[in-house]
């Protein structure tokens, strides 16, 4: 059950994407602009018909290119929130919400519209026309209209991009709360990684119309499938190393360091060049003069090359002897306490459990990968 989407076409927009979304789950489609996110969403809604592929929702086939089967949007029962909300300007908020309820008798329609207005906290604003509502209120009307139809899937196309930061936070919170009441797949299109990480159960990374990886945010950020995914997720700390034998133990040689790795090293042949990734949270700064947690694990001496203070968080770049750059964030007060200054020499540990060996990829091998 749930939503299963597979799309494949060579042009005019090249697509090669596949993803699933279970009932009650929120899947975020992330990727740079032009990566095909919105086109995929429109494919689910039936507003775009790709050359090849299959869309299946709640056990029903909505689109099957092979069988030349495609339900029109009217019969797919999707709830869609458009990027600019697409509210009908000549209808009041309540009438907008009533429009998908035309199968009900009028009294029931108004009653349900009232209920939805209450659910999205717009009581008393039902008589207003869209142009008399704020951006956040419009978004709520759009959400209520999408859900009023009792849809089998909820599609959100960058729903928070047209409102200010404060409103965005509030609407995101409300969506998280509303989710608990609905048991359908929710697909969210966004280019905001933080938003995706905060709201989604699953993230699907898209690039040039191709789905590269689908995973839970936590594992995605710790275990990107390829250097490209890591780059698209704005992950740094992507390095190259060689599998070596040091004193009878498998180690990962990185410059002059021999790193201990918790997982995956034993399966690789000696001499193999690998790309590895380290989540910034697995870089531990040693405190001056006092022992730190995990201090013996892969200790590295490095020079602070850049410090960027962003409010309570300081972003630290460390230059390692052989030229690679380690990046991580620490609390600004911790940076002060440890007297981090540009040019200072510090010690850090690279936690063995955090080191992730990317399967079969070399750094930048696919940096300019353009789909054929």
């Amino acid at each position: 059950m749930g939503l299963r989407v597979a799309v494949d076409q060579t042009g005019p927009i090249p697509l090669a994407a596949e993803f699933v979304c279970q009932p009650g789950e929120l899947l975020a489609l992330v990727g740079p602009s032009g990566s095909g996110k919105t086109t995929l969403l429109r494919t689910i809604a039936g507003l775009y018909r790709p050359q090849g592929g299959r869309v299946e929702c709640a056990g029903e086939v909505w689109f099957d290119a092979e069988r030349k089967h495609s339900l029109p949007p009217q019969r797919r029962q999707v709830g869609m929130v458009f990027q600019d909300y697409a509210l009908f300007p000549h209808l009041t908020a309540a009438q907008n919400i009533q429009l998908p309820l035309r199968h009900l008798p009028q009294p029931q329609r108004s009653e349900q519209a009232e209920q939805w207005l209450a659910k999205v906290r717009l009581e008393g604003l039902g008589e207003r026309y869209p142009n008399a509502l704020s951006g956040g209120q419009r978004q709520r009307v759009a959400l209520a209209r999408a859900l009023a139809r009792d849809p089998k899937v909820l599609l959100l196309d960058e729903p928070f991009s047209a409102v200010d930061q404060v409103t965005r936070r509030r609407l995101q919170r409300e969506l998280a709360l509303l989710r608990q009441q609905i048991d359908i797949p929710i697909v969210l299109v966004t280019h905001d990684l933080e938003e995706a990480a905060a709201l989604a159960d699953q993230i699907c990374v898209l690039h040039n119309g191709a789905s590269l990886q689908q995973d839970a945010p936590e594992s995605l950020f710790k275990r990107p499938a390829s250097p490209l995914v890591a780059r698209l997720l704005d992950r740094h700390n992507l390095f190259e190393g060689v599998v070596v034998d040091a004193d009878g133990k498998r180690r990962l040689q990185w410059g002059e360091h021999y790193l201990e790795v918790a997982d995956g090293l034993d399966n690789l042949p000696l001499g193999e060049k690998v790309t590895w990734y380290l989540p910034p949270s697995d870089i531990v700064l040693h405190r001056r003069g006092r022992p730190s947690h995990g201090e013996r694990e892969n200790p590295i001496v490095a020079t602070v090359s850049e410090l960027v203070v962003l409010g309570g968080i300081t972003s630290v770049s460390l230059s390692v002897n052989h030229g690679d750059m380690l990046r991580f964030d620490i609390a600004t007060h911790a940076a002060r306490r440890n007297q981090l200054t540009s040019g200072a020499v510090v010690k850090v540990s690279l936690l063995a459990a955090g080191i992730y060996l990317l399967p079969g990829h070399r750094v930048r091998a696919d940096a300019h990968d353009k789909r054929k």
Binding site: V78, G79, F88, P89, A146
Partner: protein
């Protein structure tokens, strides 16, 4: 006062609107939404009566309405009557002369309906017909109104094309505008003045009514 001329004028304007507005809804919508090769050519063709001198348009229509021309002979075969110097003839001429006045405002109005409103309607379960009736038509209503007003008023005032195609047959093709010209030619200045004032009044009331109706919409805001 030439009451029969007023009646011809009103009938002509009324029928022109009645036929042309539904046709323009279809054509204007198609021109607004469709993308096809030669669209610019179509638009130029529609706009042509705007810039063509009425006598030029009238001349070509007169020629093509003749019994040995394709349009005229086809009509004669169908009905047994000619087109030149008949009410049907000037109605047909008026339909063509008014194409830009009817189509252009409607096309512009459809172009201003955001595409995703239609998609939102489809996603709300509305069929294409219901979308047209409940979403698109209310939104393009001001465009339809101004198309109707322009067409009606312009038909009342049309002179050159009607004179070329219809002549000035009493009760059949002599419109108010032509009757005024005739009065002036006959040195009947008082009669011309009365009819001019009437035409002015009718045109003003029509436009006033239509723009007044189109403007009374709560959700419209600049």
């Amino acid at each position: 006062m030439d009451w029969s001329a007023l009646s011809v004028s009103l009938r002509l304007a009324g029928f022109t609107c009645l036929i042309l507005i539904p046709l323009s809804l279809w054509l204007g919508r198609a021109l607004a939404y469709a993308r096809f090769r030669g669209k610019g050519l179509c638009e130029a063709l529609v706009a042509l009566p705007l810039v063509l001198p009425p006598t030029v348009l009238g001349f070509y229509l007169l020629m093509s309405f003749g019994r040995d021309a394709p349009v005229g002979s086809f009509w004669a075969e169908l009905t047994g009557r000619g087109l030149n110097f008949t009410f049907t003839g000037i109605l047909l001429a008026s339909l063509i002369a008014n194409l830009p006045f009817a189509i252009q405002p409607i096309q512009r109005a459809f172009e201003h309906v955001p595409h995703n409103l239609r998609e939102a309607a489809w996603c709300s379960g509305l069929s294409p017909w219901q979308t047209l009736l409940r979403i698109e038509l209310p939104l393009v209503w001001p465009g339809i109104m101004s198309a109707a007003a322009l067409t009606f008023a312009h038909t009342l005032g049309e002179f050159g094309v009607i004179l070329m195609v219809g002549g000035a047959i009493d009760g059949e093709t002599r419109t108010l505008a032509i009757a005024i010209y005739d009065r002036v030619q006959a040195f009947d200045e008082q009669g011309a003045a009365q009819m001019s004032a009437l035409l002015l009044l009718v045109s003003f009331i029509t436009l006033g009514l239509v723009y007044g109706l189109a403007g009374r919409r709560r959700w419209v805001r600049g």
